[in-house]
């Protein structure tokens, strides 16, 4: 893809109960948002192993959004509380190895927040677009691209 028509690839890893339902609401309400996002649904943010985030970058994501239920709303009571501690550490670690914080973002989006989902996706997409393609990670991928 040439530079002029480059579009950011955003991977959103979301929980089944809140954010996915919120995204569904945005869809059924016919709200429009930028089409750069690929959604991956998991049971809970507590099920999101940070290695999934690395895998998304390996497979060419320019940015990753992780989103789940607001604190206190977790379907499994505490999944998002546990996830929140892991995110704190993981985002600092990625920052420390030189991955810009804009490329990994987090949000709480409830099942009724279709509007918020639209705003979050537009915001993440714009922020990543401003950063440009994730050339750092894509460069280390080159030796593998032929096989995939």
């Amino acid at each position: 893809m040439s530079e002029s028509n480059w579009e950011p690839k955003i991977v959103a890893i979301v929980c089944n109960w809140c954010t996915y339902t919120g995204a569904d609401l945005a869809g059924t309400s016919r709200m429009k948002y930028q089409p750069n996002v690929r959604i991956i649904k998991l049971p809970c943010t507590g099920r999101i192993d940070p290695v999934f985030i690395l895998k998304a970058f390996e497979r060419g994501a320019d940015g990753v959004l992780v989103s789940g239920c607001h604190p206190g709303d977790c379907h499994y009571n505490a999944g998002n509380f546990h996830a929140r501690r892991r995110w704190m550490l993981f985002r600092d670690l990625l920052d420390f190895v030189g991955i810009e914080p804009e490329r990994l973002q987090f949000s709480w989006v409830s099942a009724s927040e279709g509007r918020k989902w639209v705003d979050v996706i537009n915001g993440v997409t714009d922020a990543v677009r401003a950063r440009g393609p994730f050339t750092g990670y894509q460069a280390i991928n080159k030796e593998f691209v032929a096989h995939e």
């Binding site: 501690r85 704190m88 670690l93 420390f96 810009e100």
Partner: protein
């Protein structure tokens, strides 16, 4: 070291422990090596000095010796922190281990180096457990010791002051050297998983070849799996054959754990682990 030998002899003779993991004289000057002794007659082999580098806590979770019975372990303060963290993580029962705590006057950063100021291990700069914080038997008392400057923290601050692209370039150069020997994992007391994620191939989360992509993923995940667990014994740094500064990653995670959650691993055997628990009011200003 006669104190240590006497203690070891008594423990074995009285049957309080089945075996003792300690250090014996190494194959040359300024070296020791780990040894497992099982009888009182062998107690004389034990030594302890500025070259007792290995963190012997790594043996506590090894099935080969765990089944033999109660283990005595010769441990510096930093090693005791690893033991305590293993107790916190329910990998070791407090009553199954007899800790021979060694008052420590610092160690060198690698074998073969004479005990001189410029050879002191970086971890000794911030050590506050020269007399171990937990032990069954204490041997010796620490002598006056002027710690060196905290070189690790200085390097971390230097890295953080760089723009992200330069940090990325720095780590890429470091990780590129990795040959995936997993020495860092084998030496680490906290890497006790029966099957490491790096060895799983269905699905394969971490590319197993020593490629730039695989090395980045492995080194990031290794550091992350130790976040809030690493006690900073620095063994990974010491054994890395290509000198990747792994403990900078570990230290950075420790700094976050301390700053954000006031948590230090391996301090209190009764305390819950950092990511095994949560607080409803944990910081979340980074979440939209």
């Amino acid at each position: 070291m006669s104190d240590l030998c006497t203690v070891a002899k008594e423990l074995l003779q009285s049957g309080q422990v089945k075996l003792i993991v300690g250090y014996e004289k190494g194959s040359g000057p300024h070296r020791t090596r780990p040894v497992v002794i099982r009888s009182a007659e062998e107690a004389g082999r034990l030594v302890f000095d500025h070259h007792s580098l290995n963190n012997l806590a790594v043996y506590l979770t090894r099935k080969e010796i765990k089944h033999e019975g109660r283990i005595g372990i010769v441990a510096k303060g930093c090693d005791v922190r690893a033991i305590v963290q293993l107790i916190q993580e329910k990998q070791v029962k407090r009553e199954d281990v007899v800790i021979i705590g060694m008052a420590c006057d610092g160690v060198v950063r690698e074998f073969g180096l004479a005990w001189e100021r410029e050879h002191v291990a970086p971890k000794c700069a911030v050590c506050d457990v020269r007399t171990p914080h937990l032990y069954d038997i204490l041997v010796g008392s620490p002598a006056p010791f002027e710690p060196p400057a905290d070189s690790q923290l200085a390097r971390i601050e230097q890295l953080k002051a760089m723009p992200p692209a330069e940090r990325w370039a720095f780590w890429e150069r470091e990780f590129e050297k990795c040959i995936r020997c997993y020495a860092c994992r084998q030496i680490c007391p906290m890497c006790f998983c029966d099957r490491c994620i790096a060895d799983k191939s269905v699905p394969q989360w971490l590319e197993s070849s020593a490629s730039r992509r695989g090395n980045l993923a492995w080194n990031i995940m290794r550091a992350f799996h130790l976040a809030g667990r690493c006690v900073g014994c620095g063994e990974c740094d010491r054994v890395c054959p290509v000198d990747i500064p792994l403990s900078l990653l570990n230290r950075e995670m420790a700094l976050v754990a301390k700053q954000e959650y006031g948590y230090e691993p391996g301090r209190d055997p009764e305390a819950p682990t950092l990511i095994g628990t949560y607080d409803k009011d944990d910081r979340q200003d980074f979440i939209q």
